[in-house]
Amino acid sequence: MSLLELTGVEKSFGAVQVLHGVDLTVDAGEVLGLVGDNGAGKSTLMKSITGVYSTDKGHVSFDGTDVTHLDPGERREMGIEMIYQDLALASQQDVANNIFLGREPTKRMFGLIPSFVDKKKIDRQAQEMLDQLGVHVPSVHIPVGMLSGGQQQTIAIARALTFKPKLVIMDEPTAALAVREVESVLKLIDQMRTEGIATILISHRLNDVFDACERIVVLRRGNVIADLKRDDTDMAEVVSYIVGAHG
């Protein structure tokens, strides 16, 4: 059984229909590349998976449960994480707080007053997570906005990986990175695969997609028009699907 299963997902914004009944499955530990032209509906599709958008029609099931009507927080609890292109980091908050945002561990102060954020625990675990990923930041106490683009990218990845996700969606994780940083992100995806974490990689950089993904899905005008195995296809074919020159 697949980890993620989308059936007939439709989504419109006003009069504009963006998704026209998308079917898609992703298996556990699979690295799937999702490609398509600008406006093909990639981001909308991903936000339908994370729950940021509610779907008009169709179903999203995850890990054997229908999650169509769950909100983003609940889906995150189930193990769906997304790393946004703009990273969605809160730039004035510190590194550790960003990693634990929305899931702050709490304790009772003096054993009495409830829901006191356990800042010590946040700092310690954030540091552990960054060490594990081989990321170096000056301190977990500095505001995220003071870090470089590559460092911010890894903070966003650390946030996604801290809570043992089953599926991580990455929207253009390599677009703004230097060559060496791209390599470390791709290496990280491979490491996640060996740990059984499924990844959906959205990218315009077909090199990266062919490098990281065993399977490539092409989205065009809100429809899945190709579902290809990396080993049975090549870049020219994928490009022809993206621009609509195929068939």
């Binding site: 809160a90 899931r103 829901s115």
Partner: protein, 323 residues
């Protein structure tokens, strides 16, 4: 000391401004019969805190909404509505004394909830919603009270405004208690973390599963509740439910929050900083009063301080982003 300020997100500058302003006011204030500067007497000290207590509590509400990148312009008017609502229940309808508390706090929270509801559900900018509420709440206060003060509250309520247990005015205790709880919530609970994150980057908050709509709704309700508490204290101090209470107080409250270090564009806010900001406004008002400066000029001074504070902040942040 600096470390404590940093940990509580208080800017050292705001403390320096407070001390500097106090020194200036002390030097400029007249001398009493016994040769002491009026500004430095214990009585005057309590006057400052007593006056600051009302808009200090409003400023706590302002800190919550502003640090989440919102704004509440209705604070002063809601204070007035809360004042007459509590007094009307107890004086006009002759209900038991505690209905003054329920009425004031309830009216404040309700007005805040209406603000929050329209902002989150109607997607109307907070600036417009709360500006509208500024008119609606004041009008409603005048209607309820028929345009007159509702005079003569029971002693239990007067205690909240006029008593001096251990020589310290009750409103000071109330301010400290409210500020401590507000500080704890903003700095140390998930709710507080989410508030700052929401003001910092709404997408970030939404992406991490924070219920942005509920968060905003609660923030505006809290802001209204603060106006309710301030309204209750006002009523108790002057023994009157006053429909004109809190006129222009939103100016004082927002200024106190901003000079206390709250980021006007969200993402940063500290209750301790806001308390220092409120004291700065209190000292400024009090000092100008002692020097017998006309109220008209005071109004100008406070407005100028607000603009200057935001201007300086803009220069700072721009300098930082250019680095």
């Amino acid at each position: 000391m600096l470390k404590l300020l940093e940990r509580t997100h208080v800017r050292p500058e705001s403390l320096a401004v407070l001390i500097g302003l106090a020194v200036v006011m002390a030097i400029l204030s007249p001398v009493t019969g016994s040769g002491v500067r009026v500004f430095l007497t214990a009585n005057n000290f309590f006057n400052i805190i007593l006056a600051s207590a009302t808009f200090g509590i409003l400023a706590i509400g302002a800190t919550y909404v502003i640090s989440a990148a919102g704004i509440d312009l209705s604070l002063g008017s809601v204070l007035g509505l809360a004042s007459v609502s509590g007094a009307a229940l107890v004086v006009t309808l002759e209900w038991p004394w505690y209905f003054a508390i329920i009425g004031s706090l309830g009216a404040g929270a309700a007005a805040g909830a209406v603000n929050g509801f329209i902002v989150t559900r109607g997607h109307v900018p907070a600036f417009i919603v709360t500006l509208g509420m500024l008119g609606v709440a004041r009008g409603l206060a005048l209607i309820i009270s028929d345009g007159r003060g509702i005079y003569g509250l029971p002693p239990e309520i007067l205690f909240l405004g006029q008593a001096r247990p251990w020589g310290i005015p009750t409103p000071v205790f109330i301010l400290i208690a409210v500020a401590l709880v507000a500080h704890y919530i903003l700095a140390h609970t998930p709710f507080g973390h989410h508030t700052l994150a929401l003001g910092d980057n709404e997408n970030s908050a939404r992406a991490t599963g924070i219920n942005v709509r509920r968060q905003r709704m609660m923030l505006y309700t809290i802001s209204g509740l603060m106006a309710g508490i301030a309204g209750l204290i006002f009523t108790a101090r002057v023994n009157t439910g006053d429909p004109t209470a809190g006129l222009n107080y939103e100016l004082l409250a927002i200024t106190a929050a901003i000079i206390g270090g709250t980021n006007l564009f969200g993402g940063r806010g500290s209750i301790l900083g806001t308390m220092i900001g409120a004291l700065i406004m209190g000292v400024l008002q009090n000092g100008l009063n002692l020097m017998a400066v006309q109220a008209y000029y005071q109004q100008m001074a406070i407005g100028a301080v607000l603009i200057a504070a935001v201007w300086l902040d803009q220069i700072r942040t721009r300098g930082r982003s250019l680095q």
